[in-house]
Symmetry: C2
Subunit: 340 residues, 2 copies
């Protein structure tokens, strides 16, 4: 690999691509070229171009054939990410995909096989952890033993539906993968991470449509109950964020330990302190509140190092697979009626 | 019934008796006599006597035979409450028991039969709703349509174990009924109430011991996933409140509606505003914070009226039975390994 980490972008259909790209640019990457998918709206393309005016738009094939490009970032339509990642790895490139990394267990099996055969890295940018500094502070507090052994997580991940701004595929189950695959992906990641679980199973999973009767195919509510070898977890997601909330979602994470607990109010402290990244610690020493702003987002720098050193410090490959497999399995359980 | 509501207390083993009694005294009741159980510690008896020095301690039989006493309040040892309630109803008295109202499905069946045969009222004082004003305000906001239709509840009910202050029976599964029967009873009540469910089933239930290896019979963690005909619910309880929390538990209730949500921080707003009964409302109109202090506790007054008018305004008899049955069923599911 060259000393410079050259980056190509294939697929910009979700705005997460900006977080992924900016994170890697801060970590020393050089943005070389980008390509959109066939369904990318013109306004999405134009906005991206305006943000990076000096970076050339190319075809996907040109980017794949460019041997100087080592890392592909992909935030295409959910259902198309697996194919981009597999093709990129077959071309010798490491990959960071937006979540969900894929939308079916078959796609995941294909990705696993490709990673095994090519030795490339398939990373999923779980932005609700990797792009949120309150998680970084939570990691530090847990590592310091401030809440003892973690025994359970409760994650609430409400999202704003924002119908007028959504492309058509947002409403299609086959393209998004469903609510547990899509926005609950973050929750599986955080559950495994905070409980330190390396094995886990879905105890129960449910998806529903509670507030969108005009879109019967759309899942606006989902929940899962999890049991891992490091702890248990309950995680709920929805597309019900009220219009009066100043941010896209009142994301919360409560991490229960044997000697205390941590609450993250990630994006807003409703009717409380301004800003985001509010961390609350309660233990034998009392109640403390932290502003996690400035704690840093180590994922991106670690990932750049991993690409260079072929290590797994940002996230293990097994973790990316397991978080994704849990999400896909939960989605299947919820839709097949088992364990409902 | 006389115009005066005369009250007898049988069983004072849990401090909830003070809330129950004081609530009924404010509602116009007259405290006539009290009796302890055979295992009641002397300090518990002495404290109660010192609080109500002008009220005579009598035997249970004397209270039961006193026809001027119309209402029995009972906060005996969990496993003994059913027998007290049944005997009291057989003596023509209405009953308010501390939660849990009983500890086995057999006891509940006996109570149901007694209610049917005697026409007496069996009420369970679910203190985490009836003695907490933030619930009263939540009721009002929901009735006003401020969050649309309620679709789900997430309740977190951590409790302080406080081992040095606990009687021996606190640690005995057979006497407490287990964590889901005991402290999760409140959660079943609130789930049914806020979702408006008249039918419900346990989707999943779990109990565990995560932080008390020296007391293997003790359950310090429990959780249930619920599905009702009015909505869904996830509820977690534990005995893990850290010593540094200034109150006995950071009880939370999040009520998700189609058009907004309500969060109750019942006893403390950690590192936030002082006091208890913090209510947060988020909907299309924005984010609002309410101090629910002074909203009132209508259960007790309604119960006094119900006794007079033979109505069910404080809580329907069916609700008291269903909340209790769900708790007992969840406990059995958790311990039998089904649905874990």
């Amino acid at each position: 690999m060259a000393s410079q980490l050259k980056i190509g972008v294939i697929g910009i259909d979700h705005g997460h691509i900006y977080d992924m790209l900016n994170g890697m640019l801060k970590a020393g990457g050089v943005f070389a070229a980008w390509a959109t998918g066939p369904e990318t709206p013109e306004h999405t393309r134009a906005e991206f171009q305006a943000t990076y005016p000096h970076v050339p738009e190319k075809t996907e094939a040109e980017i794949l054939e460019d041997k100087s490009i080592h890392l592909i970032l992909c935030s295409g339509i959910n259902s198309e990410r697996a194919a981009v990642a597999i093709t990129a790895m077959r071309h010798g490139k490491d990959v960071m995909v937006d979540k969900p990394g894929c939308v079916s267990l078959q796609q995941l099996a294909d990705i696993r096989r490709t990673v095994a055969e090519t030795g490339r890295i398939w990373s999923v940018c779980f932005s609700e952890r990797f792009c949120v500094e309150s998680n970084t502070l939570a990691d530090r507090l847990i590592a310091e033993g401030r809440i003892g052994k973690v025994v359970q997580t409760v994650g609430l991940g409400p999202h704003r539906a924002n119908p007028s701004a959504r492309p058509a595929w947002f409403w299609e189950r086959q393209k998004t993968g469903g609510i547990l695959t899509d926005i609950c992906a973050h929750q599986f990641d955080q559950f495994l991470h905070f409980t330190g679980s390396t094995e886990a199973r879905i105890v129960s999973a449910f998806t529903g449509n509670v507030a969108n009767p005009d879109r019967p195919d759309f899942q606006d509510f989902g929940e899962v109950l999890l049991e891992g070898n490091g702890g248990r977890g309950y995680h709920r997601v929805d597309w019900l964020t009220p219009s009066g909330l100043p941010v896209w979602g009142d994301g919360r994470m409560t991490i229960l330990g044997t000697d205390g607990y941590i609450e993250l109010r990630k994006y807003i402290d409703i009717a409380g302190q301004p800003g985001g990244d509010h961390v609350f610690l309660v233990n034998g020493g009392g109640v403390q509140r932290f502003d996690a702003t400035g704690t840093g987002l180590p994922y991106f720098g670690h990932f750049a190092s991993d690409i260079e050193a072929r290590t797994e410090t940002a996230m293990t490959q097994a973790h990316a697979f397991m978080a994704t497999e849990l999400a896909l399995t939960a989605q299947a359980i919820a839709e097949n009626g088992a364990n409902k």
